[in-house]
Symmetry: C2
Subunit: 308 residues, 2 copies
């Protein structure tokens, strides 16, 4: 497996100046060396936002949607607006460098590289007024087996009502922040319960999302996903999955889904950029149908090169 | 103002080996240089814990209580147990170096240095299985004026019920984690509302804590603070404040406090390690009494050298 490619973004936000001639708008760095200050608020407060973009055969089919969400997350945190043009160029540069690395590596001949490209924007070093930004491109873990074998899921209470994004915007629901300790703790709780993954529910009984994925369900031929108004991330991959399902003639809607809807579903998937669509084999101990043919077709669509 | 002192802790947790003769258990580094990897889970997931310890005249009067809570937070996150002896020595080394720096600086003659010493333990670089730890000692901001002039506070919903720490431990309530984006967002909301600070309430109406402080209230000569069973941090400074109040013959109890109790209080303080006790002058727009004499005496007690 080839090494990760790191690009520091010196001009991460609109209004941040890069002194002409002294510093490029972004530059490659060695990810094996330390690059961040212990005073960076991204570390000391989890005060920043991120995106993870899937790259297949050198293309990022959903990049525009990820850049949209990156901006939306930043604005929810009152961070300066990411400079979309600079981030776009930095991502392209990271992809080009990572593809070159992968091609140089021995195993590249075997299959085309799938990359996970992470974009991070933090509030920067405390008191500096300058955000910190970077792009990290690395070979994605191989999720082929997981896409066929599926995951066992438990539902866990996310603690918040479904409407906190509108009543209490300071809770940052709907922003993809670096403060993900709860998301990783929930996965550990799932493992303790003999499962692999989590679907969060609201304290008042609505289906939300997985810690790092959207939830897709099917009941009697109709597909649905929780609508973003329940304080979840608008799923970039879920949106592409709906495009696929509708192109096949299926009904697919974003709805307010109750936990009881989830328990009634005959099939459930977790969908996210890099893992793509993973079928749920067991939900809170109940076995679910797995439609492998549909899952394979959906994943082929998600990894296709065309823009969404 | 003298520069911060940074100590990287190479043996941050019980069971983490430091190869004999090759690496010290901790070592001083330049905080002006990058020290952290972009792959550290402390940054990418806010997956770590911290403490901030107040040092006055070269002594940390509440260090033992902070080390207790540091360990408790780590265990709530399933992090390896901090090596208490190593952290204790690293903190003492950081204090000694910072005091020497302060004495060398010109302004040191004017008044004894108050330091803020931060301890951070993260889950480390993803896949390494090795946590990352550091201690950062720096001159504390001068809060003298804030302790006399007070702060205006708004109450904001923390979104969780008062009992989530027991029903839903994966929400990590009661752990002092690096995932503090909500805490900083709440402060920005307070500023938007023309206030300075926040007291969080639970979704079911109990008083919780401030984003980085405990809450102390007085009603008719009786002092109280929310009990830790509502999913808040056990306050190290609140505990010392209670020692002081009881030594003066006051009643001081940890109770389940309703938001209505807070609205009825005749005096309120925010108490934390470095700012110490700060009186609340206004709560949701209502003016409160400020007992400056008591506040001064309490702060003198909190900064005294003796161990708590």
């Amino acid at each position: 497996m080839s090494a990760p490619v790191l690009i520091l973004v010196n001009k991460p936000a609109v209004g941040i100046d890069v002194p002409a001639g002294t510093q490029p708008e972004f530059e490659r760095r060695d990810p094996g060396e330390p690059q961040l200050s212990v005073l960076d608020l991204g570390t000391t407060r989890g005060d920043g936002v991120f995106e993870t973009v899937m790259v297949s055969e050198g293309r990022a089919p959903a990049l525009a949607a990820h850049l949209d969400r990156f901006r939306a997350s930043a604005l929810l945190l009152d961070l300066p607006e990411p400079d979309r043009e600079v981030w776009g160029r930095a991502v392209e540069a990271a992809i080009a460098a990572a593809v070159a690395e992968a091609e140089a590596a021995a195993e590249a001949a075997a299959e085309p590289a799938v990359l996970a490209v992470k974009l991070v924007l933090t509030r920067g070093i405390e008191g500096s007024g300058r955000p910190t930004g970077w792009v990290l491109a690395q070979p994605a873990r191989d999720f082929t087996a997981m896409r066929r074998e599926g995951v066992r899921v438990v539902t866990l209470d996310r603690g918040y009502r479904h409407d906190v994004a509108s009543t209490s915007p300071w809770l940052l629901q709907g922003a993809k922040t670096l403060s993900y300790a709860i998301n990783t703790a929930a996965i550990r709780e799932a493992l303790r319960r003999g499962a692999d993954e989590v679907v969060f529910t609201s304290s008042d009984g609505f289906v939300l999302e997985a810690p790092t994925a959207s939830v897709l369900l099917r009941e009697g031929g109709r597909f649905s996903t929780p609508s973003a108004e329940v304080g979840i991330l608008p799923g970039t991959t879920q949106r592409r999955a709906f495009e696929f399902l509708r192109s096949r003639g299926h009904d697919a809607d974003a709805l307010r889904l109750r936990a009881s809807d989830l328990q009634r579903a005959d099939a459930v998937w977790l969908v996210s950029a890099v893992r793509q669509a993973v079928p749920v084999t067991e939900l809170d101990g109940r076995a679910l149908e797995v439609d492998l043919a549909l899952t394979d077709d959906l994943n082929a669509y998600l990894s296709a090169r065309q823009a969404s």
